[in-house]
């Protein structure tokens, strides 16, 4: 299940709704991305950031998220899988994205969750505008995320 929305979401409720009544689930893994107050490796050397605005490509976003979910379900036996991605203007500390997976075995839930968030960051058509002291800046892509996602490429 995927959702692209402007509104916030309730993490506990979303987790409870992953695979309701399915007692084959042994583990649930979850990742939540949050708007952070700096860009860079650490706070000391980084640039301060206020709010962000996430732009996306309506239609293609939903299609990509659906494809990423399908890929995860094909690789791991999942009892539940959820991707929620927000867009629009988001303040510091606001939730941006949530990925959650439910499976019989914890390794499947954890690996699928990592895979989903890594791919999301390289495949989903979102662009981030950061508000800093010097105005709004479009964030450049960095090699790090591609490397993380590349771990999942099947040899």
């Amino acid at each position: 299940m995927i959702r692209v929305q402007e509104e916030d979401f309730d993490v506990g409720k979303e987790i409870d709704g992953l695979a309701p009544g399915n007692t084959s689930v042994g583990g649930v893994a979850c990742f939540i991305g949050v708007v952070r107050d700096f860009v860079g490796d650490d706070k000391e050397t980084g640039t301060a950031v206020g709010a962000i605005t996430l732009e996306h490509y309506p239609g293609m976003t939903e299609q990509k998220l659906t494809a990423i979910e399908a890929e995860a379900r094909q690789r791991w036996p999942l009892d539940g899988c959820l991707i929620i991605h927000r867009y629009g203007r988001l303040e510091l500390g606001d939730r941006i994205v949530m990925v959650a997976t439910a499976a019989a075995h914890r390794s499947d839930a954890l690996d699928a969750c990592q895979f989903l968030i890594d791919w999301l960051k390289t495949e989903a058509p979102f662009w981030k505008l950061e508000e800093t002291e010097t105005g709004g800046h479009w964030v450049d892509a960095r090699a790090g995320d591609d490397h993380r996602a590349a771990r999942w490429i099947k040899k």
């Binding site: 490509y57 058509p125 662009w127």
Partner: protein, 86 residues
Amino acid sequence: MKILYFAWLRTKTGVAEEDVTPPAEVGDVAALIEWLKGRGDGYAEALSDLSVVRVAVNQEYAGLDHPVGPDDEVALFPPVTGGKGR
């Protein structure tokens, strides 16, 4: 042909979405981009460095040699940065 621009490509061209009718010889993404650069300074600037431009044709990532035709939706945007900034 419908063209979409996102992020700084949108701010540089000043256009989010437009319908264009390139000449018949514009048959692939590379030719389309060359043709779009002739539409104004903002376009030329936005499309000057193709190493930072990504393309989707009909909502699928596509290369410069991907064919394009009158009924296609072509989107031009920077590499995605949904969660970037680390």
